[in-house]
Symmetry: C2
């Protein structure tokens, strides 16, 4: 058999063709001309001022409510260091982002897994747990185009979650990196924008709207939380990356970011469509999924008897990869898989699903090799 | 009195005129043209490959012995997280870098302060402590052009410290950001380069050879230590800043870094000379100092009765600032001060010392205002 060009649905990363290298080059040239001292000197722990201001304006908050970090994961990690003592209960979604689960586990959090539904986290299940005495310090929730599940938290549930947080005294960590990558449907207001009881810390980043390699993320939240994270930042790295934050600030100020977002949306919309069409055509009803309205990921549930870890081995021999669902779960997820369409062309998406269908058939026939 | 343009000897940072904005602009343009996918995608926890390779070659080690971090402080902090349990003994220099002392204290380290001499840390005093039963996990030492003390660890003491580390089973954390900023005298080999027992973890950065705003530092050490720090890095921020590391890699590859180092050395040499001449001329024998052969800092001891915290207040009214010595000490240092000459022109250095001498005279006359 001739070796195939591998097709990866595994990594949640954009392909090079949708990352704005040329516009970043221009932004770098301008900022190094216009503010060399600002981007080359030590900065402040809260981030490059003009970028912090831009983010604050975009989210309609004061700059003092914003801390810019070296990627949003680092912001989250610093927040966890502040909030999580060993044995502390933290509510998480099942499935959820594996790095967040790991960071919480490493800090000794007692994880309370709340299932996801088509319209986001099962707030009713959370309420039952709270009524039974669970007292989480916070809930971590990925609200738009979930990683890995692809779903989006409904407006009604956002309101209910805010009520529960206010009544039960827990925080909501609203993790929202995909918000701007919406292909269709209407934006839903963030919980942060509707919060009236200082219950929400909001996280986002420029990884999906510009490029992951810039490693620029941010937290927005109540003054006291943001001040504490900023102090931790200073003690960890003095200041975040001033040069890149300057480049990103100029990229935003110049309007290049709107063009980049439009470009990403259009490309990923086509990729999602090709993937979803491929699943319907090659696998059919056995592949159950909620069509994501944006973001990078499509979560597929196969019939219960299919072990997606075994499927991965057979699929890899056919030149296609993905992440088994169990990697995102505290338990279960054995018949699920995450397909990232962010880095494949529409043609690759279709061919990848064809190979996946072939692998599924082979797995069932007990024929591990093609 | 007309208000004076303030002169700061306080912050250990370079002035804008010695930071290579134009060469960085060119490096950014080239790397975004030549390797857009590499610098814009998620990278690996150990840093941008070509930069890691350049550092490895420069220090004559394997790339597997290098991890590139978001500034060297963050590398140190991740190392401390691995090595320091609460109650662990860590030997530090007195005086030492305040952020390092704070990071160690925050992790519950039991600090063993070892005095500095003109030729670096007092290895004899350390040996006495070891013989009396002290069992540090590691010693933190700033070997060249110490911050804040300006001194450099002699070759003989480097050998003795390596012997002690091997015999007593502690690590040496060789913190060496200023090495390349030598004005005069011969380079002294790093302890890392002479180590035969995997006793040394070496830290440096590009803050002093390029600019602090790039926030790129690195650790070099035994494979197991570097692997552990790299895992911590991945769990903290996925990968360090790929875009800036790409720019720095191109800056190094192109040779721009040699020009930048030559430029920094020349400028800081002149600034040090102006400061030292000023101290001799305006304050005279009462200002005792070891002339640093490189780096950013000159450490001054005034007569014992002078409280440099009180002096700072009087000096600030005269438009000059510095950092009192006590800020760098676990105890003592009340009559010392750190003067950073990295951000002042030679003319400013001279004028700054004139104001300082004036403040000292006023303090002694009990006249707090000019």
């Amino acid at each position: 058999m001739p070796s195939l060009e591998p097709i990866s649905f595994a990594r949640g990363a954009p392909s090079a063709d949708i990352m704005p290298a040329e516009a970043l080059r221009e932004s770098a040239a301008r900022i190094l001309r216009d503010d060399p001292a600002g981007v080359l000197g030590y900065g402040v722990g809260s981030g490059y001022g003009p970028l912090r201001d831009w983010i604050a304006e975009r989210h309609d908050v004061e700059p003092s409510n914003v801390v810019v970090t070296n990627g949003s994961l680092q912001g989250g990690v610093m927040l966890f260091d502040l909030l999580v003592e060993p044995g502390e209960t933290v509510a998480v979604e099942a499935p959820s982002y594996d790095r967040t689960l790991l960071a919480l586990r490493e800090r000794g959090a007692d994880l309370l897994a709340v299932p996801l539904k088509e319209d986001g986290v099962d707030v009713g299940a959370l309420e039952v747990a709270l009524d039974e005495g669970a007292a989480p310090r916070f809930i971590h929730t990925i609200t738009n185009f979930h990683n890995p599940a692809g779903c989006t938290l409904s407006l009604e549930k956002r309101h209910r979650l805010l009520e529960l947080a206010a009544n039960h005294g827990f925080l909501i960590f609203e993790d929202d990196p995909y918000r701007e990558v919406r292909f269709e449907g209407d934006d839903i207001p963030t919980m942060f924008s509707m919060d009236t009881s200082d219950s929400v810390v909001y996280a986002s980043s420029f990884s999906k709207t510009i490029a992951p390699g810039v490693r620029v993320g941010y937290l927005i939240g109540p003054d006291d939380v943001i001040s504490a994270v900023t102090r931790a930042a200073v003690n960890t790295y003095i200041s975040p990356n001033m040069l890149v934050e300057g480049i990103v600030a100029e990229f935003c100020r110049s309007g290049a970011i709107e063009e980049s977002i439009a470009n990403v949306r259009q490309a990923l919309h086509a990729r999602r469509d090709a993937l979803a069409d491929g699943l319907r055509g090659y696998i059919g009803d056995e592949a159950r999924f909620v069509l994501p309205q944006g973001g990078y990921f499509l979560w597929v549930e196969l019939p219960e008897e299919v072990d997606t870890s075994a499927l991965l081995t057979v699929a890899a021999e056919r030149g296609v990869s993905f992440v088994p669902g169990a990697d995102f779960m505290l338990e279960g997820g054995k018949n699920a898989l995450r397909l990232a369409y962010s880095a494949v062309t529409p043609d690759q998406a279709e061919e990848g699903v064809r190979r996946l269908a072939d692998a599924l058939a082979a797995l069932r026939e007990g024929a591990p090799a093609a």
